[in-house]
């Protein structure tokens, strides 16, 4: 242990600890801005500057590591003055429209101003860049950018893409796609990880709140809303609940209280996806096992950021993608066909809204092929953050809501659907059902969990052997299915490169575009809890284990829709409504 002194307090810290971390461990908070634990450690804003005795200059606490005998002052006159000037300079060309900013009251720059006791604005030069760039998913407001570079880290280091970087120099500097192009022209996956880490209002989701209110307030329109699996374990954070709290019942009640007519659940459609995708896998595997041509590994298609990434960077692998639409699109399509017919409402008078932990879903619902019988499957996509804002705007007392259920016929779900929200979950849900179909028995694992693919590692793999299979699937006897799971596009690239070079040993791959999966998607509440990933993961598995039914093929309302409407998984109507196709976007918008 290293002994040092911070503010006259003798403390000890592990070697390699930064001054900022050592101070925090001992109850001393050093103001910081660009630093984001576990994500971004760059020292670009210098706000956490501290005085170290005998050092020539002030040291940046988030970067400088503790040394034996170090004497640190975090609140000396020099430090306070420096921090104030740094902050004032940052503010000098920052847009001052705080009261009408999307991040009002949740802005880290605003919060820092309060901590630093800023009461004047000496260097007001006006905003350097009045520039707004709108894409279907992400909106950039460059007048608010403070050059912390967190978005660059999220895009380049974490996702491995690098759409954003610093362009030009001096007052012309801008954090932007190459040559300051629009994000629409930059092969962005729209994963939205940049919007999660942005401390200010420079990067945010493109607003869908207004059109949702318009639909709710139109008496002619029947509004259908559906929340994704990952929403229920994160929405509570918007209302002060600890990270990892499940608020499923209150969420359903709040959506109903907004004035929504049908409160369905994307979980239901996740069960449906397993039936369709599981069937697709079985068909391809049977073809391969009986010596016919079929494309394996099959890769999951629930994550639209991942889909756009494949279309942009690995178009040659499009045949590997499952043709299943993502679950909310399936539910949207069925709301305007199956449900519309059932209740006798014109599909053009139905407005479907998906609550998603995702910004890429906003782009997805605008894709031209996501239209059936002349109406779009999904009309609007709200992020978890946007739903939280709407609930606040509507004056709904969220913590005091009584738990409510989802509506029939698309509200009932199994535990297999809940885990769609976390990395490894889609694969586990598929394995539970595929194993049962092939062998006629439940998956012989404790709690039905496929332990090797549970957790937050970048790439996980498992092998599943089929023995004593039912006669119909005798070709699977002794077959060992190899599966792989990854979350985050950097991991996806590794697995895709394997396929390109013919070295992929897998039959089935699950990819989620965001690290840890939807629980930490680009539309989720911004959390500074370093354990956010594991806490939300536990909450998702808690939802799963709390359900009576844990396997998609046991869902009675799924059985009912096949009996009443769809026929069989992979059948004609399924193909029309629940499956899709993809485009080579590698040359799209190429400048």
């Amino acid at each position: 242990m290293i002994q040092l002194t911070i503010n006259n307090k003798k403390i000890s810290a592990e070697p390699g600890t930064t001054i900022l971390e050592a101070a925090k461990q001992n109850g001393i908070n050093i103001p910081s801005l660009c630093y984001l634990e576990g994500v971004h450690k760059f020292g670009s804003c210098r706000i956490c500057s501290v005085e170290v005795e005998n050092a020539r200059t002030l040291q940046v606490a988030c970067m400088a590591e503790v040394r034996e005998g170090m004497v640190v002052h975090t609140n000396s006159k020099k430090v306070l003055k420096t921090r104030k000037v740094l902050y004032e300079l940052m503010l000098s060309d920052h847009s001052k429209n705080c009261l009408s900013c999307v991040r009002n009251q949740s802005c880290e720059l605003q919060q820092l101003g309060e901590i630093l006791c800023i009461t004047e604005n000496r260097f007001n030069t006006g905003s350097a860049r009045e520039q707004i760039d709108i894409s279907p998913s992400i909106t950039r407001d460059l007048s608010k950018c403070i050059f912390c570079r967190r978005c660059i880290t999220a895009c380049k280091e974490i996702q491995g893409i690098g759409i954003l970087d610093a362009q030009y120099r001096g007052f012309d500097s801008v954090i932007a796609p190459p040559m300051d192009h629009s994000i629409n022209d930059a092969k962005c996956s729209f994963c939205g990880q940049c919007t999660v880490v942005c401390p200010v209002g420079a990067l945010s989701e493109t607003d869908h709140i207004k059109k949702v209110w318009n639909a709710i307030n139109d008496p002619e329109i029947r509004v259908v809303m559906q929340p994704a699996p990952a929403i229920r374990v994160a929405l509570g954070e918007m209302f002060g609940y600890p990270v990892g709290t499940s608020v499923t019942g209150k969420m359903a009640a709040a959506i109903r209280a907004l004035g929504v007519d049908d409160v369905f659940d994307t979980d239901w459609a996740a069960d449906l996806t397993i039936m369709e995708e599981g069937t697709e896998f079985l068909h391809r595997a049977i073809d391969v096992l009986s010596g016919k041509d079929a494309v394996l590994p099959i890769i999951t298609s629930c994550s639209p950021g991942w889909i756009k990434y494949v279309e942009s960077y690995f178009p040659q692998l499009i045949p590997h993608l499952s043709t299943c639409k993502s679950p909310h699109m399936m539910l949207g399509a069925l709301s305007k066909t199956y449900h519309a017919e059932k209740i006798g409402v014109d599909p053009r008078k139905i407005f479907t809204v998906s609550i998603m932990p995702c910004t890429a879903k906003k782009f997805e619902c605008s894709r031209e092929e996501m239209i059936n019988r002349g109406v779009p499957n999904v009309d609007a996509v709200l992020t978890t953050r946007e739903l939280g804002q709407m609930i606040k705007q509507a004056g709904i007392d969220f913590p005091n809501l009584e738990d409510e259920d989802f509506d029939d016929p698309m509200g009932q779900s199994t535990g297999a659907a809940d885990i769609f929200g976390v990395t490894g979950g889609v694969m586990e849900a598929a394995i539970r059902t595929v194993y049962a179909i092939i062998t006629g028995r439940d998956l012989p694992f404790e709690q039905l969990h496929v332990t090797p693919i549970v957790g937050l590692d970048q790439i996980k793999e498992a092998t599943l052997k089929f023995e004593n299979v039912v006669p119909e699937y005798k070709m699977f006897e002794g077959f060992e299915a190899k599966v792989a799971v990854t979350s985050g596009l950097a991991g996806a690239k590794i697995l895709m490169d394997q396929i390109v070079y013919g070295k992929s040993p897998y039959h089935f791959i699950e990819v989620m575009g965001c690290p840890s999966g939807c629980i930490c998607g680009g539309g989720q509440p911004r959390s500074h809890d370093p354990d956010v990933r594991i806490k939300r993961l536990k909450a998702i598995y808690g939802e799963d284990e709390g359900k009576k039914l844990r396997q998609s093929h046991h869902n009675p309302s799924i059985a009912a829709i096949y009996k009443d409407y769809l026929g069989k998984p992979g059948g004609h109507l399924s193909h029309e409504l629940l499956h899709t196709h993809y485009f080579d976007r590698s040359k799209e918008n190429e400048k």
């Binding site: 690098g162 610093a166 030009y168 120099r169 190459p178 040559m179 192009h181």
Partner: protein
């Protein structure tokens, strides 16, 4: 957005051939990201300037993000993303030339050539640039066309200077 003008420019006829030359430079530097600036220098020498398609070619070949390459290209004033004209006009804006009317020369040239500073005329003949001091204060206001210095220029003389080219 900055819809850079060079996107509208036609790429040179020997575009592919020049890219091949750039590729061999990248191979020589083993495509190491640390060598990016040297590679860009050489690429500009081969291609004349570094438009977006060239930046993208370099980024793909080096397996780094285009945004990173363009970040470097746009940071250093040595690199140009626009094609240079046949002749470069350099107007001195050092103190002596400035007080003797250097600014008027820039304005006059902008008008006559119909370009902004650091842009190139439509016919590709002239690129207009400014310099802080060309070390010819006694000749103020001065300008250079390529390697030739013109002394005591006034806006009325610009036409005769340009007519020499």
């Amino acid at each position: 957005m900055n819809q850079s003008k060079q996107m509208l420019h036609k790429l040179p006829d020997d575009h592919e051939y020049k890219l091949e030359q750039i590729a061999s430079i990248i191979d020589k530097y083993e495509a190491k990201a640390n060598n990016l600036i040297m590679i860009l220098h050489a690429a500009q020498g081969i291609y004349g300037y570094l438009p977006y398609p060239v930046q993208k070619f370099i980024a793909d070949k080096m397996n780094i993000a285009v945004a990173e390459v363009s970040g470097v290209v746009t940071f250093y004033s040595f690199f140009s993303t626009k094609p240079k004209g046949k002749h470069t006009i350099l107007v001195c804006m050092g103190t002596a030339c400035y007080v003797r009317g250097g600014k008027k020369l820039v304005e006059g040239l902008q008008k006559q050539l119909n370009v902004n500073v650091s842009d190139t005329t439509e016919d590709g003949k002239f690129t207009l640039s400014v310099a802080r001091c060309i070390g010819a204060c006694g000749l103020a206001p001065a300008l250079m066309v390529d390697d030739t210095v013109f002394k005591s220029v006034n806006p009325n003389r610009l036409e005769s200077v340009l007519s020499k080219y």
